[in-house]
């Protein structure tokens, strides 16, 4: 049997901020081609975990590998695309066209002190096409809806043709239709381009129908094992496929009986909604 290639491997991560432990003993793997959703309570360290995976924050201990390579000390992130939390909001007033914004992420490909050429423009256009924003090439974020802005952020990352796509709460603050559009686009990228997708979300009810792996981060513990039937997977259409790896919810009983985890799932949903309510 040939060894399984993992897109992301996380082993025994510990991280504390101001002496307060945020993450402890986190271990999981995400296979190449997965569509993984990371869920968890507010403050459970989801965004921190993402930043550690990306190498933006150094963990106190533990090993992170992306495509088999150690993250620490790595400076080439071209294989990984990252859409940060609220990134669509942060650019909503920025006076630049969609094309200009997407071109900016081709920095490495264009090279320092040079201007983008025809080739780069084509790459930007392709990325905008992938997310369905071809007609918005010359538009600015102020002229777009929240969902369109979010897809623009996605296009920016896709232009670099990443193998792994990491998104932090991409569905927050946009309406139902826009969430569906975004997830459709992500699903297509996942299926046709075989891009691994890792996504932090509150909106597990929607995401679960696209993802083949759900990781639950709660009470600062995080484990990986085979998914017992019935957990969160009831929301998933492919629940009999054995590609699912475990989720351990610390606030669920060790037995992982379906009701409590379903409750936990409910809990997450209500978090997501309440947060949207605040926005």
């Amino acid at each position: 049997m040939k060894p399984i290639e993992y897109a992301v491997e996380v082993e025994n991560i510990h991280f504390a901020y101001n002496e307060k432990p945020i993450l402890s003993n986190i271990t999981f793997r995400i296979q190449d081609g997965d569509f993984a959703a990371i869920i968890g309570d507010n403050g459970s360290g989801k965004s921190t975990l993402i930043k550690i995976i990306l190498g933006l924050l150094p963990p106190d201990s533990g090993i992170i590998k992306i495509q088999g390579q150690n993250v620490t000390g790595r400076s080439d992130f071209s294989a990984v695309g990252y859409v940060p939390q609220n990134s669509a909001d942060s650019i909503s007033r920025f006076p630049a066209t969609a094309e200009e914004i997407v071109l900016s992420s081709l920095y490495k490909k264009i090279g320092p002190f040079r201007f983008p050429g025809k080739k780069h423009r084509q790459m930007a256009e392709d990325a905008l096409f992938q997310v369905g924003l071809t007609d918005y090439k010359k538009r600015m974020p102020t002229e777009m809806s929240g969902g369109q802005r979010q897809r623009l952020m996605l296009a920016r990352v896709l232009a670099n043709q990443p193998r792994i796509l990491i998104l932090d709460e991409p569905t927050v603050g946009i309406d139902n239709d826009a969430v569906n559009q975004l997830l459709t686009v992500l699903h297509q990228i996942n299926i046709t381009n075989k891009v691994t997708i890792v996504m932090v979300t509150h909106d597990i009810a929607k995401v679960a129908s696209y993802s083949n792996r759900v990781l639950c981060l709660s009470e600062k513990h995080f484990h990986e094992s085979d998914l017992p039937s019935g957990t969160i997977v009831h929301a998933h259409p492919l629940q009999n496929d054995h590609r699912y790896e475990h989720i351990h919810c610390a606030n669920c009983p060790q037995s992982h009986d379906s009701e409590s985890c379903a409750a936990c799932n409910q809990d997450h949903k209500s978090h997501g909604e309440s947060e949207r309510g605040h926005l």
């Binding site: 650019i91 006076p95 200009e100 900016s104 992420s105 920095y107 369905g132 459709t184």
Partner: protein, 284 residues
């Protein structure tokens, strides 16, 4: 030749005004998006405390001004890093340090006339040395801006994303900071602090009302800065208004004109606004 250009002081004023408008508007676009709009005032006040320190400790006050400006701008960068969520506070803090220090130190300068002579800058009283200094400065600023356009754009869009894409964010920020500090310290001394602080921000604010892309934002900023400067000098020449104040007022007028233009445009071109995408549009 119009009467205005028969006087060499006006020729110099126009050359310096146009060149500085170009450079300051370019820097301004980045400054505004880095949320450092007050940096013009902060740095020009800091440069005054540098003049005071220079006079007190007996070294060249211009050197003191440039030094204080560089120091202050590096302070801003440092505080920005400490308080990433309140980046505008960094400039405000440095502004009060600059004003306070200049106020306190000026009380100790024995010969206040020296201090006054550094306080004062007027666009219609440009010495030949200042003219050459401004030409050199603007050439450097424009060259660096052109070379680093892509990097500066990305950093203004998002420092985090820029860093992830491999932009040397720290180096670019450092170069930009030094460039801004140099421009402010030289411009404050030659054309006055009022002109620099208003040209750095207000034309950009006006440009953002009507521009349709980042490139056109820069062009409009330069345009508004040029209009303010050229009209300000012309009005000053023909009807005797103070040039510095006139330039500042005209740039604000440009802003309001741009706001009105924007609202008129959105009223008359509602139909050109995009319809929301339907889900089926998405399937490539």
């Amino acid at each position: 030749m119009p009467l205005m250009f028969q006087y060499s002081y006006m020729q110099k004023a126009f050359v310096v005004g146009i060149l500085l408008s170009l450079a300051i508007a370019c820097l301004g676009v980045i400054v505004v998006h880095k949320r450092m709009s007050l940096i013009g005032s902060a740095l020009s006040h800091s440069s005054l405390s540098g003049v005071a320190i220079g006079l007190l400790f007996g070294f060249n006050p211009i050197l003191g001004a440039v030094g204080a400006c560089l120091f202050a701008s590096l302070c801003i960068e440092a505080i920005r890093k400490k308080l990433p969520d309140f980046q505008d506070l960094a400039v405000a803090i440095t502004l009060s340090i600059g004003i306070g220090l200049a106020g306190v130190l000026s009380g100790f300068v024995k010969n206040a006339s020296d201090f006054n002579s550094f306080l004062f800058g007027s666009i219609i009283a440009i010495t030949p040395f200042e003219l050459y200094l401004v030409i050199a400065l603007v050439l450097i600023v424009l060259l660096v801006f052109l070379l680093m356009y892509k990097e500066l754009f990305y950093i203004s869009l998002s420092e985090e994303a820029a860093a992830l894409s491999g932009v040397p964010v720290r180096t670019i920020n450092f170069i930009f900071t030094i460039l801004t500090a140099l421009t402010v310290s030289i411009a404050a001394r030659t054309v006055g602090a009022l002109v620099i602080s208003s040209l750095l921000v207000v034309p950009v604010a006006a440009a953002m009302q009507i521009a349709r892309s980042f490139k056109t934002t820069i062009f409009w900023s330069i345009f508004f800065a040029l209009v303010s400067t050229v009209m300000g000098l012309t009005l000053s020449f023909y009807i005797g208004l103070k040039p510095g104040g006139t330039i500042a007022l005209l740039s604000s007028l440009c802003f309001f004109a741009a706001v009105i233009m924007k609202s008129l445009r959105s009223r008359f071109s509602k139909r050109s606004l995009p319809l929301p995408n339907k889900p089926e549009d998405l399937i490539p």
